[in-house]
């Protein structure tokens, strides 16, 4: 990790997106399956104890461990601490508070009730290995440079006065717009749905030994069968072995896919910055 770059880009984000909301925590275990939460958040049984614990934590602990217990310059992230995760009611946290630790953790003189309250507060934070999407403005590119790139690489198939007229009004979320122009139909996330845009279908021309050519939309294909819907709606499928019969596949997105190797990330950001102006 080039730390400097990360910090720079983070600083830039913070400056340019001052109002960015904190990421919502995703529920623990996005991949639980079966509709249950893999690692449920601990139930809060005594809200008053949590409130008392917050006061104690803010005064005594947050300076090192952060107001959200996720760590600071001098204290580790408590939410991922094995000791904290395994602790139930302060029985493990208590001795550390009372005795301190050799790596800079001082001793405190809390009562048993205060320790229990602090533990209740720390255990009230959700602990998840996932975060949800953020509302960060992703439009950071140079629209002028994007226009130049568009004219050089995209204008042979697309026109801002034709098929892309008003495209930014159709896709008001710049991220959805960006995913869609990179590859229509893309944007699916692990276990989630992407922007609604049906990509144009792949088609094939099958040339039979008789010389007959059959063209249609591909419904399914593998190394052994090609299955087509013809222009009149009829279904035909063909067994293939090697190159017989010959199958010529036409992918309307081939140009988009070929460009994936060519883009610098800045090209993508610039084109998006240009396209968002096409209201």
């Amino acid at each position: 990790m080039h730390m400097r770059n990360v910090l720079l880009s983070i600083a830039t984000c913070v400056l340019t997106v001052a109002a960015a909301a904190q990421n919502p925590q995703a529920p623990g275990g996005a991949r639980a399956g079966g509709g249950f939460i893999a690692y449920p958040q601990r139930p809060v049984t005594d809200p008053a104890a949590v409130a008392r614990g917050k006061v104690l934590f803010d005064v005594n602990c947050s300076f090192c461990h952060g107001a959200d217990a996720r760590g600071g310059d001098d204290g580790p992230n408590l939410l991922r601490s094995e000791l904290v995760l395994d602790d139930q009611k302060g029985e493990s946290i208590g001795p550390v508070l009372l005795n301190g630790r050799d790596r800079g953790m001082p001793k405190f003189t809390f009562t048993a009730d205060q320790i229990s309250d602090i533990a209740s507060y720390i255990h009230s934070f959700p602990v998840s290995s996932r975060t949800g999407p953020a509302n960060i403005d992703i439009v950071v590119g140079d629209a002028k440079a994007g226009e130049a790139f568009f004219n050089a690489k995209c204008a042979s198939c697309h026109s801002v006065n034709g098929d892309l007229k008003g495209v930014a009004s159709k896709y008001t979320d710049p991220k959805a717009l960006q995913q869609t122009w990179i590859l229509p139909g893309s944007g699916g996330r692990f276990g989630g749905a992407g922007p609604a845009r049906t990509p144009p279908p792949m088609t094939a021309i099958v040339t039979l030994p008789s010389g007959e050519k059959v063209e249609g939309k591909i419904d399914r294909m593998d190394d052994f069968v090609v299955s087509l819907t013809l222009a009149d709606g009829t279904h035909r499928s063909f067994q293939t072995e090697g190159n017989t019969p010959a199958v010529e596949i036409r992918d309307p997105l081939e140009g988009h896919k070929n460009l994936l190797r060519a883009y610098a990330d800045a090209d993508i950001h610039n084109v998006t910055a240009y396209l968002v102006t096409l209201k």
Partner: protein, 566 residues
């Protein structure tokens, strides 16, 4: 059969083999002797990869290049997760249902039943698993002998890779952190033992690997907790040793590659997938997973983050590390290097060498010396992987930090699934080639956590898929790292991931494609010799022989398919 005395030397192994040879009837009657795992793979499939080498190479030849055209369906068997699948208990023909577990009983990871692991076959019985479920089936026709259901308390139910077996003892792990031992003959529970902390959000997926009197299990975790392997006594479940994949104490090796001890102790490196074993050196050789936090890596420091994303060799009796080679220094994309390594005795630069081969999720292939970990070859088996700028002097890919992520998105290949994943590779000694299912994909990686402290676990980014541009069966020459041949699957499917592989002495390479076919290839050149459309294959094909008949077995979701010759 119980072997109490560890077999530490080849001569001791020979004695055990000799002893086995004179008492085969006893072994057959009682179960699997661990020492039989040292023999070439033939009639049975007694451990995750078939044998310890990870080659997934069977010596069976009844099904071969000439006869494979006649390969036909012998039986299918559909499995259903959960406690209510079997019919009325006690009724004639209804197999026993055994229920265990510490959960309330009302959490059933319903979803689809997906067999995504090995099916162990010993003495004519198949043992197959899904999370919370283990079945014993008759290997002749697939009928159910018994079903064990585990009442879960939760945990990540992503998959289960199968059972391990020692004598008549069966072992499997649960998503809610237990090691369970059953009587392999009837499914009754011997004991269960909590082996990982549920509160720390661990879960377990690995097929236990049984080596002599050790039952090895790796941890799984998506939060920032350390990865480790534990070795248990097969008789009692008592912990024998524990190996951490990250430094846990001051002075531990590798600590200098982390920002500080707290970062190292939360550094991940989960050994999710079974490794391989070299009986000559007593080394268990396996891969470790990604460092954690996976994406917002600034809290890990700028170093390599050892021993994550590495091939690691440890002594199976002590758990002490002998060597390591890191295949992804300071990974930033959750690209585990946990793929099962393949142990091969092969010629290299004109002399015989003991090798270990691995194709990593990051798109790079490696040949190492398995006695020392010395790096010999790096190859790239992806056309599109764009996250590394070059190789360093040790043959490791040099990560390009610009391709970590960007708030406006960085176009990265591969997507999170990697160029390959857990589905096991294979090796054919006749062809001298290593085979791996591979997929070329792109995704946009958006940074979503702008707090300089980053996120925990897999958080802090949004990854949106862009495209799958090719799915392949790839054959790699281990001497050069170059692609010897490659079959590109014709498919409409997007995001498709090819399942694992099997090779046989019959000159066959079996693979599931990305469109639902089980295919037999010629391992020398990739020519297709046979296929059957069974629906998406979800594990790696296996083979076994019973009553003089060889079977090819694979799983497609909830259904097992067995093929044979008549």
């Amino acid at each position: 059969m119980k072997i109490k005395n560890p077999v530490n030397s080849p001569s001791a192994a020979l004695l055990v083999t000799l002893w086995l040879w004179i008492t085969p009837a006893l072994v057959a009657a009682q179960g699997l002797d661990p020492a039989s795992l040292l023999k070439p793979l033939s009639d049975s499939w007694p451990t995750y990869s078939g044998d310890y080498s990870g080659r997934r190479y069977s010596s069976l030849t009844q099904i071969n290049q000439s006869s494979v055209k006649n390969l036909t369906l012998a039986w299918t068997r559909r499995l259903t997760n959960g406690p209510n699948a079997g019919g009325q208990q006690g009724a004639p023909g209804v197999p026993p249902l055994i229920i265990g577990g510490e959960g309330p009983g009302d959490i059933v990871a319903a979803g689809a039943t997906q067999v995504k692991g090995a099916v162990v076959q010993v003495n004519g019985v198949l043992y197959v698993t899904t999370p919370d479920n283990t079945w014993a089936l008759d290997a002749r026709d697939g009928h159910e002998l018994w079903h064990y259901f585990w009442k879960t308390r939760g945990g990540t139910h992503i998959g289960n890779r199968g059972v391990g077996i020692w004598g008549t003892y069966l072992f499997f792990v649960t998503p809610d952190d237990y090691l369970v031992s059953l009587d392999a003959r009837n499914g009754t529970e011997r004991w269960h033992k909590e082996i990982l902390s549920f509160n720390q959000q661990y879960f377990a997926t690995m097929a236990p690997i049984v080596i002599r009197n050790h039952v090895l299990v790796g941890s799984s975790n998506d939060l920032d907790e350390p990865g480790f392997i534990q070795s248990f006594d097969p008789e009692t479940g008592e912990l024998q040793w524990k190996f951490y994949a990250v430094p846990m104490n001051p002075g531990d090796p590798g600590l200098e590659t982390w920002k500080d001890l707290d970062a190292a102790r939360h550094g991940g490196g989960q050994p999710w997938v079974p490794g391989s074993y070299d009986p000559e050196t007593s080394l268990y050789i396996f891969g470790t997973g990604n460092p954690s936090p996976a994406y917002t890596s600034q809290t890990r420091g700028e170093g390599d983050n050892l021993f994550t994303c590495a091939i690691v060799a440890i002594n199976v009796d002590t758990g002490k590390m002998a060597w390591y080679y890191q295949t992804s220094p300071h990974d930033t994309h959750d690209w585990d290097s946990a793929q099962t390594p393949v142990l091969v005795d092969g010629e290299f630069n004109g002399r015989p060498r003991k090798l270990v081969l691995t194709a990593s999720r990051n798109g790079y292939y490696f040949t190492l010396d398995r006695l020392t970990g010395e790096h010999l070859v790096t190859g790239k088996f992806s056309d599109t992987a764009n996250w590394a700028s070059d190789l360093n002097a040790k043959g490791q890919p040099i990560r390009n930090p610009d391709k970590d992520f960007h708030i406006a998105g960085s176009l990265v290949s591969p997507a999170n699934q990697g160029v390959t994943n857990w589905p096991p590779p294979a090796f054919s000694p006749e062809a001298g080639l290593f085979f791996v299912p591979s997929t070329d994909t792109y995704a946009m990686y958006y940074l979503t956590e702008t707090d300089p402290r980053g996120a925990m676990g897999l958080g802090g980014k949004e990854e949106l898929n862009v495209a799958t541009v090719g799915s392949y069966l790839t054959a790699i020459d281990y001497k050069t790292g170059k692609i010897a041949w490659r079959h590109k699957y014709r498919t409409l499917g997007n995001d498709a991931r090819a399942p694992g592989l099997l090779t046989t002495a019959g000159g066959l390479l079996f693979a599931g494609d990305v469109s639902g076919n089980l295919i037999a290839f010629d391992p020398a050149n990739g020519k297709i010799l046979w296929h059957s459309y069974v629906g998406q294959v979800t594990n790696a094909p296996e083979t076994y022989m019973i009553d003089g008949r060889q079977y090819i077995l694979t799983a497609a979701g909830d259904t097992l398919y067995a093929f044979t010759l008549y």
